[in-house]
Every structure is written in C-alpha cells, then in structure tokens.
C-alpha cells in the first residue's frame, strides 16, 4: 500500500475529516502489523521518516546520530505496537513515535554530556531579548548560511528549550500535540517556548548572525 509522504507531520492545512481519515488508516495499518503483516509498517515509516529524522537532527546536530535515532525509534515503535493505544486521539501514532525519538535523542545528549565537555550554556534571557530589533540589514550571508547559523544557535540552547522550539516553531506542531509528546502541561510548554525564543534571539544576536 502506498501512502504519499506528507510535507509536514501534522499538516494544519488538512481538514478535520482528512486528518481523522489518516488516523483511521494508520490504526488499520497498525492492526495489520500486530497481526503479523510486517509490510503494513512500510507506509508508516515512509510517512514519518522526515519528521523523525528532522527532529532528531535538530536535537543532536549530527546526521549520523539522527539517522540512528530515527531508525531505532521506528524499530522500537514497531516492537511495541501491540501496546500502542490510540484511543481515538488525533495524530496518536506520530505523537507516540516522536516521543520515542525525542527520548532517545535526550539519552544520546545525556551520554554525550558524560563523555564530552559541556557546551557553554550561559544564555541570558533578559527582557532585551524579547524586544528584538533586527540588526543592520547589510547582511550578506546567504539564506543557507543564516539558517546554518540558526541551527547552530539552536544546538546551544538547553535541551528543555530546544525540544519545544523544534516541535513548535520548526515542525509547527500544536501545543496539544507537543503535550502528548513531552507529557508536560501546556502552560509549562508555553513558558518554555517564550523563554527559548528569547534565548535563541539572544544567541543569534551575540553570534552576529543578521
């Protein structure tokens, strides 16, 4: 069965009916997997590979690690499919898959912290960061370079802010979906998003990325 890869994990453009149709389709595929039809898992991997890889890459900053994490997240999800309970929630499978990918990425970060020198985490989130005024417009760095700088600045953020910014601003997920992934109250998530944005802006300014 071929399912086209969607450009985003949770496409806001999708109507309620289209979204629920997709969820129902996924539930059917999962039921087939649990019944022993391994091939039924392929469309799910195809659909969510970009999302799992992208989140892991933004969390870790390494394509090789992200590849391992994305692969392992799918394998873990497959092995635990018999315990998966969608319970009619929207995006239940992708939320569950992302939870596995994010948790595995955090494990890698923890083991890195044990073995490597810690990154400089002295990021101040003063009020000035909220009142961001774009610096000189004579920026000659290409869009690609600017995005690379932004990606690098994102990696300097503490994990708890980085993960919410990746899910909220980079992947455009709703707070409800992020709550399902990180299992945190929405208020906490919103606070972290605001602080994370402020820290990121400060980092970008400090690095002189314009």
């Amino acid at each position: 069965m071929a399912i086209a890869e969607i450009p985003r994990a949770f496409d806001p453009g999708l109507g309620q009916t289209e979204g629920s149709r997709r969820d129902e389709e996924e539930i059917r595929l999962i039921a087939r997997c649990v019944a022993g039809d391994v091939e039924a898992f392929r469309p799910l991997v195809h659909r969510y590979q970009r999302l799992a890889f992208s989140v892991a890459f933004r969390m870790l900053g390494s394509k090789a690690d992200a590849e391992d994490i994305a692969q392992q997240a799918f394998v873990d999800a497959f092995n635990a499919l018999d315990r998966f309970r969608g319970e009619g929630r929207a995006h239940a499978f992708s939320t569950w898959l992302l939870r596995i990918a994010v948790n595995r990425s955090k494990d890698v970060l923890k083991s890195r912290r044990r073995t490597e020198e810690p990154l400089n985490r002295e990021v101040h989130s003063g009020e000035a960061a909220f009142a961001y005024d774009p610096p000189t417009p004579e920026a000659n760095a290409s869009h690609g370079e600017r995005r690379a700088h932004l990606g690098a600045a994102l990696l300097k953020l503490p994990t708890k802010y980085r993960e919410v910014l990746i899910l909220r601003d980079a992947e455009d997920l709703s707070y409800e979906e992020i709550r399902g992934i990180l299992r945190l109250p929405i208020t906490t998530l919103k606070i972290r998003v605001v602080r994370g944005r402020a820290m990121l802006r400060e980092l970008v300014e400090r690095c002189g990325v314009t």
Partner: protein, 80 residues
C-alpha cells in the same frame, strides 16, 4: 535576519525543516530490521505456551489405574 513574526515566532526556524531530508535508504533499513526474527525477552519466553504430548496405550492406562488403586488401598489400610 528576520526572526520576528506576528505571533512572536522565529520564522526562520520553520525554514530549517527544508534543510534536512532523511537518508534515502532509511525506510529500507527500518524494514530490514523489523523483518528480522526477534529474540524473545525472558518474560516473553517464560510466558510462551507449549504443547506436551503423551503417547500412552490402553494397557498402560489400566496398569497405572491398578497400581494407583492398590497404592490407595495400601495407604488406607496402613493409616487404620
């Protein structure tokens, strides 16, 4: 860099999404791994059902029944 947007989002972050694409063989690698036979965990192994087959002839059943009956009678007589 234009990092402002009406809802205070860092708009450039959304564009990071386009910068990464998964390796082309990711699906194939995942499918290879999930298709491999899995070793069961200890708990799964302990919970596995198995079939015990006993092949026994009627004469042996009669013999066993007689032996058990004799044993019961003997035990009963001994207790008295």
């Amino acid at each position: 860099m234009n990092v402002e947007s009406p809802n205070n989002r860092i708009s450039e972050l959304a564009r990071l999404r386009d910068d990464v694409s998964p390796p082309p063989d990711l699906v194939a690698r995942v499918m290879t791994r999930v298709s491999e036979p899995r070793f069961p965990s200890l708990w799964q192994w302990l919970n596995r059902p198995f079939l015990i087959e006993i092949r026994i002839s009627p004469i042996v059943i009669i013999g066993l029944a007689l032996a058990l009956g004799t044993a019961f009678v003997y035990v009963g007589a001994t207790i008295k």
